[in-house]
Symmetry: D2
Subunit: 144 residues, 4 copies
């Protein structure tokens, strides 16, 4: 539990701004890449979850703390973990690091509600539950 | 015919890149704003065209010629006109100008195919035809 | 103090995603629009603050709570206020509403550090201080 | 000459729009990825070219022809080649394919002017010339 799943992406010119660093909203796009690749590494495709099981992981809250700027052409290491799993919600934690140096650039968190295509909350389908064992009071305490 | 429809937008920080100018792909987003506001000024809503009439103005070709950089916080004047109108296709021409000086920053063109929600080409519904009179051989010659 | 400054923007096609709603990272771009227009309404240009006074309002933290989806072509009301003002930091609070109905779509907050162009923290230049009176213990308590 | 350089990227949720396909401006971002990875595979870094040699590959023209929609989570194959190389300009051609099926999704072209950081055209520095042998009348004829 609370394992980090890792993936990388390279900073695009389009992601920089005139301050010469990555524009702050793009970190949330990287969080999304982290979630999707976490799902793939766990063993399922988010696309299929939407299309075959009418289950959307809809964002309810997002936050990011920026520590160091991400720079053009940097290889970015996106580290994602599940920090809370309830019947209808999932919470993820993120670390964004510069791959070359390991330097921590940002940390973040998102909270999601499982919804159907009409945006109505629903219980996470059983077939996905094994990837997201319910967070117990104990594990919730342990996770920072 | 060939009237320019005008609208403005202000350059966002997010749209700049580390060269200190607007990133080139964003001009295509401005073209889209130009098309949608052209439709609104003509008298209909593109959103309704999609939702009520299952007609999508799907892009088939886009081009842009960049002349001067667009800068952060500039008010951008987007000038759009219909340059060709056929039973299943529409062509638009664009001028992007710095509002304050009138300076021409870019020109562009897009070609679109009318499609249904399954991406199948269809004839433009009759109710929209009056906004897009068919281009005749003569008018086609006249339009640069 | 704690006045809301208001501006609007219309949802672009580019801002929607395949769920049919505005992609979550774009709310942070709207926050940025809110900040910049707040500065303009207060009486100064953020662009000049960067270029003439070497003072960048660098983001340190951002958070957003999503309540209702923003939809294509909606006119979005962005309400921004300064919630904390210290010698080197500024905090902003945001409300994102659907203009037509007044419906609250999201709330958010960002914390910023004033930096020079080398990304070194600095005190907010005196000429801008009058727009950002220092938050006292009292006003901090009053601001939610 | 005219070799294709290849790289891949996976379609992000952020890149889709409410039509359920990739928004058209994003193809120009993929072209940029294609250029930068072409440079890396040739043996130099575009970032260094900007920072160490004050040479920016500034876009003057871009065009794209869209054939099939790119879909969420698709692995996209970006194929890039140099189609023209002159003392101060470079032209690139692109193919965008769905990696899994090989299907051609789009073709495109960009023309660039080598500029210094003040946006003044300049001759491509000698150290980069070997990567971009001057296009002769013959090779220009051969390249479609």
């Amino acid at each position: 539990m609370n394992t980090f799943y890792e993936t990388t992406t390279r900073v695009r010119y389009a992601e920089t701004d005139r301050m010469g660093v990555v524009y702050y909203a793009n970190f949330l796009i990287w969080f999304e890449i982290g979630r999707v690749e976490t799902f793939r590494q766990m063993g399922f495709s988010y696309k299929e979850m939407e299309e075959a099981d009418d289950s959307y992981v809809v964002v309810a809250e997002a936050s990011c703390r920026y520590r160091q700027p991400a720079l053009y052409d940097d290889v970015i290491l996106i580290r994602t973990r599940v920090t809370e799993s309830r019947s209808r919600t999932l919470r993820f934690g993120y670390e964004i690091r510069r791959q070359e140096t390991g330097e921590l650039l940002a940390t973040g968190e998102t909270l999601h509600v499982i919804c159907d295509s009409s945006n109505r909350p629903k219980t996470l389908p059983e077939k996905y539950r094994r990837f997201f064992p319910l967070t117990t009071a104990e594990s919730a305490k342990a996770s920072p």
